[in-house]
């Protein structure tokens, strides 16, 4: 820590002579129950693209919201063009020339594009809004960004990439001098990302300073000149992008070197336990076929929006597919709703733990036994057997090593990683489970807990469960899977053995329709 402190101190000395447009010192932000930011520093030079990096929950988004005046910091100072400023609300920040494009575009879905762009700073004459002028100006901005939609389109009907473009147009319309982009590429395809890079280049060329938050290293290398790292709500350091190595940067972000991240055990792969044939749902995915064997971990990767989650939701009866068949242990099963799916032995761990996996204000114990409560219950009236439920919950929560004091702790009191463990425990207590479908099992989970979850996956494979893991993270797909399917635009584009797979190959298959050769080979087996 001291070494880094020295580094940042020396940087501060040199920076004071530079042309800083924005500087934040000693920012501390407290939420009920947590310190979201603890003494964070940040400097932005005029006309630079500055990346802000850190793990999920490191405090990046909160920090951005302090800059834009959404949150008021408890401690610290903020200087704009050398003068100290206090923003009472987002409006102050906007007027000072700071605009943010958030990760989830903060759009008004029922309103038009024009209105979304000019909300808060409309053209007003004699108290009346000048719709004609606004539509014209909006069209100019869209032209500048090379947009492929109309100003009169309803915002809710646009794609995420298009909505982001509107948000950028909105930032431009305020004549912002500082534009903050919060994870802008997370939901974009490669082509769309490239388009975004060009827009950012254009912004920088026109004298705008950009703060860029991203998970993706390639974003940072492509765009940023400097990078500031946050970890556990604390400031770690600011580095020049061309002077820091990838490994050092990761070390700064996670706080330690990660060895043996993927404890993949060698497991004898058994018979086929799960097979999906020709699954289709109009507009989401077409003709998806795949299979999983006992003891096998199968990866399913692809870009966001490729239809991976949607396919598995249809398999488990959450949405209705147009056609397709599902087999467990070679026998066809008919799944109309999730309880049918569980009865057949297929358990889905959903992507969004807080919204789909857990009831956040319930105790952990009740969450774990929720799917099996009817089996535990006594008598014809299904009277709850509370004691038995508690014991079962305790057993499985301990088996996955949840960091909790009692089974009555609410789900909201746990970190992302521990929440994921509770969701796993919830699946494990279902005795007839044969196949476990894990959708982005380590999303929003910090590095330490990630390794633990991989450990659990390995143990499950050893016990003979079939595991299907949906993931966008190439390292974890390559590190944990035996076999990998890729999906693109709703279709399976390839199936590779882990030994023949590489990051490049998977990416290529995820980007465009594969030849189907590898997939065909698998199907022939």
């Amino acid at each position: 820590m001291s070494e880094e402190a020295v580094k940042s101190a020396s940087e501060e000395a040199t920076a004071s002579k530079e042309d800083l447009i924005l500087e934040l010192k000693g920012i501390t932000k407290i939420f009920p129950g947590v310190k979201a930011l603890n003494n964070v520093h940040f400097q932005l030079r005029r006309g630079e693209c500055h990346a802000l990096m850190g793990e999920n929950g490191a405090g990046k988004s909160t920090f951005i919201k302090v800059i834009t005046g959404v949150h008021a910091a408890e401690e610290g100072h903020m200087y704009l063009n050398g003068k100290e400023v206090h923003f009472k609300g987002p409006k102050d920040a906007l007027e000072a020339g700071i605009a943010a494009v958030y990760q989830h575009p903060t759009i008004y879905p029922t309103l038009s594009v024009t209105e979304n762009i000019f909300m808060g700073h409309e053209f007003v004459k004699n108290g009346l809004i000048q719709w004609n002028v606004m539509n014209r100006e909006a069209q100019k901005l869209l032209d500048r960004l090379d947009a492929d939609f109309k100003t009169s389109d309803e915002m809710g009907t646009l794609s995420v990439a298009q909505q982001q473009m509107v948000e950028i147009a909105k930032a431009l319309s305020t004549n912002a001098k500082i534009i903050i982009l919060d994870e802008p590429t997370a939901a974009l395809t490669a082509n769309e990302s490239e388009k975004l890079y060009k827009i950012v280049d254009q912004l920088i060329a026109s004298g705008v300073s950009v703060i860029f938050i991203s998970h993706r290293m390639e974003d940072m290398y492509r765009l940023a000149t400097r990078v500031t790292v946050l970890r556990d709500s604390q400031y770690i350091g600011t580095y020049d992008v061309d002077k820091i190595t990838n490994a050092d940067l990761i070390k700064a972000m996670v706080g330690r070197e990660i060895k043996d991240m993927y404890p993949k055990p060698q497991v004898e792969i058994g018979e086929e336990v799960f097979r999906v044939e020709h699954m289709s749902r109009t507009g989401y995915f077409e003709d998806v076929s795949l299979n999983v064997h006992k003891g096998e971990i199968v990866g399913l990767t692809g870009l966001v929006g490729a239809g991976r989650t949607e396919t598995m939701e249809s398999v488990c009866g959450i949405t209705k597919p147009r056609e397709g068949r599902v087999f467990v242990d070679g026998k066809e099963v008919h799944i109309k709703n999730p309880s049918d799916s569980m009865a057949a032995g297929i358990v889905l761990l959903p992507e969004d733990r807080t919204k789909e996996g857990l009831i956040m204000d319930w105790g952990l114990g009740d969450n774990v036994t929720l799917p099996i409560q009817d089996e535990i219950a006594k008598g014809p009236f299904k009277v709850k057997d509370v004691q038995k439920e508690r014991e079962i919950a305790k057993q499985y929560l301990e088996e996955v090593d949840t960091k909790a004091l009692t089974i009555f702790d609410p789900g909201s009191s746990l970190s992302g990683g521990n929440q994921q463990k509770v969701v796993v425990a919830k699946a494990l207590c279902q005795k007839n489970m044969k196949v476990l479908i894990m959708d982005e099992p380590t999303k929003g989970v910090d590095v330490g807990a990630k390794a633990e979850i991989y450990g659990i996956m390995g143990d499950l494979a050893k016990k003979g469960y079939g595991i299907l893991m949906i993931s966008s993270e190439m390292p974890e797909i390559l590190g944990m899977s035996d076999r990998i399917y890729t999906m693109c635009k709703g279709r399976i584009t390839g199936c590779l053995d882990v030994h023949e797979a590489s990051q490049e190959k998977l990416l290529e298959l995820s980007m465009e329709h594969g030849t189907g050769e590898t997939g065909a080979k698998e199907a022939a087996e």
Binding site: T110, G283, K489
Partner: protein, 332 residues
């Protein structure tokens, strides 16, 4: 052919246009039945005047309800506010405290404004579901209306002078209606305040992040609603020449239904003054036309209910069809 199709699509695609179409068809039908049945014109000035006069209260309050629904809220206390304000206006006259028509309208409006302010304040600052808060006040104002009345009515003789304003043939109610609709049309479409209401209902979090004072907007829409409900209280006394504590009981649902027919979404952010007007008008014409086509007035509610439900269900089905079409077009 191509041209025609797009015109047809535009009409069916826009709620307002399709409502106008249905209204026109309905009016022509009723007119024909009426005229060829030898009963004179349906669309006579008297009839049209009555349609508006009989439904002035619903039409007026629908504007306020539009604002409330736009913020994804609801206000079911309005007819209680109406009764409370109306009852006070009635009693002031009965006890010969005040007979000035303008002053009485002002008093009613201010009472309504205060009632609405309380609603808005608790909803915005207490973060409590609007339906619960307004339900509480629905009881309170209705109860107070009874308390104020002291189990008495203000009869036609008591409010004779005041009733001049709203009597059959007087321009009073029409002026209020026209003024209100013009003002709301301009405010909601062409002022920043109006658009803020849409913004809050469309995405409250985004509105707050982009610096809109959400609480202020919320309080203000309930105040507008209250103001209109108070005004309607006075108007009701004037039109029906009496004030009773149970007046307009249960009619808040009519107001909401008129908005729903007019395409106002209960999820917020969607709806227009024109749509609300057409919805309320549709409701009003239906009420007037049913007896003429041989359906007794007791059939009114049943038909109204079926229309409301049908509109809601047809809406959903169209939306589904549109979503499905969009999915099928999607590149795979």
């Amino acid at each position: 052919m191509e041209e025609k199709k797009s015109l047809w699509k535009r009409i069916t695609g826009s709620r307002e246009a399709s409502l106008v179409l249905i209204l026109v068809v309905m009016l022509i039908l009723v007119e024909c039945i009426q005229y060829f049945g030898g009963n004179g014109h349906f669309l006579s000035p008297t009839n049209i005047g009555q349609i508006f006069r009989n439904n002035a209260l619903t039409m007026l309050m629908a504007l306020g309800m539009l604002c409330v629904l736009l913020t994804a809220g609801i206000d079911i206390s309005i007819t209680s506010t109406l009764a409370f304000a109306g009852m006070i206006v009635g009693m002031l006259q009965k006890n010969d405290v005040c007979h000035n028509t303008f002053l009485l309208f002002l008093i009613a409006a201010l009472i309504g404004l205060a009632c609405g302010f309380l609603n808005g304040l608790i909803i915005a600052k207490g973060h409590i579901a609007p339906i619960i808060v307004t339900m509480g006040f629905m009881y309170i104002w209705r109860g107070l209306a009874y308390v104020v009345s002291g189990n008495q009515w203000a009869s036609g003789a008591d409010v004779a002078q005041f009733a001049e304003f709203g009597k059959d043939g007087s321009a009073g109610p029409y002026i209020i209606l026209i003024a209100a609709y013009v003002i709301f049309f301009i405010v909601l479409k062409w002022t920043t305040y109006g658009r803020r209401i849409y913004a809050v209902g469309s995405n409250m979090e985004a509105a707050s992040v982009s610096g809109i004072n959400v609480d202020k907007i919320l309080v203000s829409v309930y105040m507008i609603m209250g103001l209109l409900a108070g005004l309607s209280g006075a108007l009701s006394v004037s039109i029906y020449a009496s004030a009773q504590p149970n007046m307009q009981y249960g009619k808040e649902m009519d107001v909401i239904a008129a908005c729903v027919i007019g395409g106002v979404s209960m999820n917020g952010g969607r709806g227009s003054v024109v749509g609300t007007f057409l919805g309320a008008l549709f409701y009003a014409v239906l009420a007037k036309a049913l007896p003429l086509v041989g359906l007794d007035s007791i059939w009114q509610n049943l038909i109204k209910g079926i229309v409301v439900l049908a509109v809601v269900l047809i809406n959903t089905l169209t939306q589904r069809a549109m979503d499905r079409a969009a999915l099928e077009r999607r590149e795979m």
